[in-house]
């Protein structure tokens, strides 16, 4: 990851300007770093404990920025950026679980309790991800708040800093988003073509 920060600096700057495709482009760099750190921790913990997502984002940031005397990227922007990466990692994983299940890779294995829970979680996560995309298409700000709070595990204050909005707006938006997503997931109508505004 020695050369990554240079690249990331440019991409993060573009991301900060609202260019979400920059995030897509830079994701593999963060993604690898997330894996590396989580993997190391998992070995340390023997897989017994799950890392808390907030500290994972912090650790990734600290690692990537280490050795750079000048701030190579805004910490705030990085937090949102890493949260998006986390969402992708988790959704990928959930899709993978579904693929394995469909592909019959585990068909003859009697699924144990843990595997069934994983499988159930992956279904929920994919549904939530889809609902979130619907929400994001209509209200990008609420999407960002959910990414930071839920996937990135950021606090209200960190989210406010990352998105350059007030903590009060974060709290409000987070409430609205949760109520909307929950309603949506429970089968509430969300016909996008229908004008409701």
């Amino acid at each position: 990851m020695r050369t990554a920060p240079e690249n990331l600096t440019t991409l993060l700057a573009a991301f900060a300007q609202g260019d979400r495709s920059a995030a897509e482009e830079a994701l593999p760099l963060v993604y690898e770093e997330l894996r590396r750190i989580a993997r190391r921790r998992r070995w340390q913990w023997g897989g017994q404990e799950a890392p808390h997502t907030t500290s994972l984002v912090h650790e990734v940031y600290l690692h990537l920025s280490a050795g750079h005397s000048e701030p190579w990227a805004s910490r705030a922007h990085f937090f949102h950026f890493a949260s998006v990466a986390m969402r992708n990692v988790l959704v990928d994983h959930a899709k993978h679980i579904q693929r394995v299940k469909r592909g019959g890779g585990l068909q003859r294995v009697e699924l144990n309790e843990q595997a069934r829970i994983s499988e159930q979680r992956s279904v929920e996560l994919l549904a939530l991800d889809e609902a979130l995309s619907t929400l994001g298409a209509q209200e990008p700000r609420l999407l960002q708040i959910v990414e930071c709070r839920f996937f990135g595990g950021l606090t209200v204050e960190e989210t406010a800093e990352a998105l350059a909005i007030s903590p009060a707006s974060v709290k409000r938006g987070w409430d609205t988003a949760r109520a909307w997503l929950f309603h949506h997931l429970r089968g509430g109508h969300s016909d996008e073509s229908q004008s409701v505004g």
């Binding site: 894996r35 921790r41 404990e49 294995v109 309603h183």
Partner: protein
């Protein structure tokens, strides 16, 4: 659609008593029934939504554990299969197949050196009764891992409990012994034969797991307490192993004796315990007894010799009355 408006209306309504929501929404949504219905539902289920998210956040954290550390070299870790005295086994996939990856708990230069030495001979083992050794590497933390064929089957300990007749048990045991005989022919000793290291597939094929692993972990430089906390299971380990001596093919003869003992009696052998009268006929009891001798010189000197006696019994030439 503006969710900004949704956000505004949601928060404006929240500040009011529930009895006023309907009127407020009817007025503000100006005939947009979809919006007012959505908002009303959101307001009514708000508490439920928040607790749902609290739970979702908790499960997300647990999900992380599985989501992130998903690769080991070229292998993708699917889930954890279990942990044992010597490490953790993961179900993984790579090169289009499903595999078992065993990460060993111990590290150190000595283990790594042995591991590299042993890898070659392990990879030569190709027998239907042996879970194939496929590859090995090191985790980012430096711990060695072994990649093996993933076997779907039930442990011998469970298999033997489901009402098998003696002939069936002996037949399965013979298949296990033949796999060990094959490995000995390739200069590989198992060293840790026990019911949990034998899986029986749906077609009735026994598969031996962890071939050669005991030798890898047979650390002569660390005898005593640390060695005893290792993978050895006292009921199945040969006396010389318990004494910290190096393992040999005769170690496996002892291990096979212990396996046969348990297959016939469904209890673990304690020390060099003999079969009780009525537990097996004298010939089989004799085979078990000879394999379980404390003194190596008195044991069968090879698995082949043990197999020979077993085949005699199977051919019906040695069906003696119960001891």
């Amino acid at each position: 659609m503006s969710l900004n408006r949704l956000d505004e209306l949601f928060h404006a309504a929240r500040a009011m008593p529930a009895s006023e929501w309907r009127d407020f929404l009817t007025r503000e949504c100006r005939g947009d029934q979809h919006l007012s219905a959505t908002l009303l539902a959101m307001l009514q289920t708000e508490g439920e939504a928040f607790s749902w998210f609290d739970e979702a956040e908790d499960s997300l954290r647990l999900f992380w554990e599985k989501a992130l550390p998903e690769t080991l070299g070229p292998y993708r870790v699917l889930r954890r299969l279990g942990s044992g005295g010597m490490g953790t086994v993961y179900l993984a996939e790579g090169f289009g197949r499903t595999l078992a990856v065993k990460c060993m708990r111990w590290e150190g230069a000595e283990l790594l050196r042995r591991f590299l030495d042993e890898r070659q001979s392990l990879s030569r083992l190709d027998h239907p009764g042996i879970a194939r050794f496929l590859d090995g590497g090191r985790t980012p933390a430096g711990e060695p891992y072994l990649v093996m064929e993933y076997v779907e089957g039930e442990p011998l300990s469970a298999w033997q409990r489901s009402g098998r007749i003696v002939a069936e048990r002996v037949k399965l045991f013979r298949a296990v012994a033949e796999a060990v005989e094959y490995a000995h022919g390739h200069q590989v000793v198992h060293g840790d034969l026990k019911p949990n290291n034998v899986l029986v597939t749906a077609s009735g094929q026994p598969k031996l797991l962890d071939f050669g692993v005991a030798k890898l972990l047979d650390r002569q430089e660390a005898p005593g307490a640390e060695a005893r906390s290792g993978p050895l299971t006292p009921a199945y380990a040969a006396p010389e192993q318990m004494a910290g001596e190096p393992i040999s093919p005769l170690t496996d003869v002892y291990g096979l004796g212990a396996l046969l003992f348990e297959l016939l009696t469904e209890r673990r052998p304690a020390g060099n315990e003999q079969l009780l009268p009525g537990e097996a006929d004298a010939w089989l009891a004799g085979i078990v007894g000879r394999a379980l001798r404390t003194d190596r010189a008195e044991r069968y000197q090879s698995v082949s010799a043990m197999l020979q006696d077993l085949r005699e019994w199977e051919a019906g030439r040695r069906t003696l009355p119960t001891a």
